[in-house]
């Protein structure tokens, strides 16, 4: 039991370190570079397309050739994969809201968390408001808080089941 816990923590630490290193080395941590990548009609900087390309180049074959064949992870935990294929309102509206925020500041969750140690008040401000946004989203999904335009969430029970 104790070794499984240790393995989970060790793998968390190791993969977190690889992830953060990838964020810094690839340049994803630089919002100026991110905006330059999104600016396809202007002075486009295509280099960040290679970040997703590189990530998929490693993860995709590894998933389909190694992970997919397994019933469980090496720790014995189940593979935490959703089989949900419904394209619903929260997925679409969430992706749009995320896209607006990403385009406004050039930050997404991975790079800002990696940048915490830099101590920039801009990064810290973004993170505080991101945490507020996540918490509010959780309350909305549970039917407790309303959102502008759409109001309170309907069919709460249905979706809680799906997301579980």
């Amino acid at each position: 039991m104790i070794t499984v816990k240790l393995l989970r923590v060790f793998i968390g630490l190791l993969s977190g370190t690889f992830f953060g290193a990838g964020m810094v080395i690839s340049g994803m941590v630089d919002p100026v570079k991110v905006i330059g990548f999104l600016n396809i009609t202007g002075n486009w900087d295509p280099s960040l397309a290679f970040v997703m390309g590189g990530a998929l180049m490693v993860f995709t074959p590894f998933y389909h050739l190694v992970i997919k064949k397994r019933n469980h992870a090496i720790s014995g935990d189940k593979l935490n994969l959703t089989t949900d294929t419904t394209i619903d309102g929260p997925l679409i509206s969430g992706a749009i809201l995320f896209g607006i925020g990403w385009g406004l500041a050039g930050f997404c969750p991975g790079p800002v968390i990696t940048s915490v140690g830099g101590g920039s008040y801009i990064v810290l401000t973004f993170i505080v408001f991101m945490l507020v946004g996540i918490s509010y989203g959780t309350q909305y999904l549970a039917g407790r808080f309303p959102l502008p335009i759409v109001g309170y969430r309907k069919n709460v029970g249905l979706v809680t089941k799906q997301n579980k």
Partner: protein, 140 residues
């Protein structure tokens, strides 16, 4: 045209893919940063320690790569209100959409998940349109 492959971006991206593959193979977890952060806000049994470790690894990674000459950039953004609004939208959007650039863009796309492919197309397109509008408004 003198296009050269941006090796650092490619290599950095491969590290992200390796990270996601290791986390899923060994622990069965999805390397989705919005999900990991969100999971720390509403904690479940057995799901907290690895998330904390992952976040600590991310933050410490900066000190691992700095001897190799990779540093965090200086963040220049003089509009703190825009940053706050963006943070709010990113938090709310990733929670409703169940993922961000990593969870949908890497893990979900790599698994050929229909939801992730659609989410990634939508947030990429939206962000591109936002940057375009900002350019048209004179670099707001």
């Amino acid at each position: 045209m003198g296009f050269t492959i941006p090796w650092q971006s490619l290599f950095g991206g491969m590290l992200l893919g390796l990270s996601a593959a290791l986390l899923m193979l060994f622990s069965g977890k999805v390397a989705g940063i919005s999900g990991i952060i969100g999971g720390l806000l509403s904690r479940q049994k057995h799901e907290t320690s690895w998330r904390v470790a992952f976040v600590i690894g991310m933050i410490l990674s900066v000190y691992v790569v700095s001897p190799l000459g990779f540093e965090l950039p200086e963040i220049i953004n003089n509009n703190i209100f825009l940053v706050a609004l963006a943070g709010l939208l990113v938090g709310l959007g990733t929670r409703l959409g169940n993922g961000c650039t990593s969870g949908h863009g890497i893990v979900g796309m790599g698994r050929f998940s229909k939801r992730s492919i659609i989410a990634t197309c939508i947030f990429m397109t939206t962000a591109i349109i936002v940057v375009l509008i900002r350019n048209l408004l004179g670099g707001l």
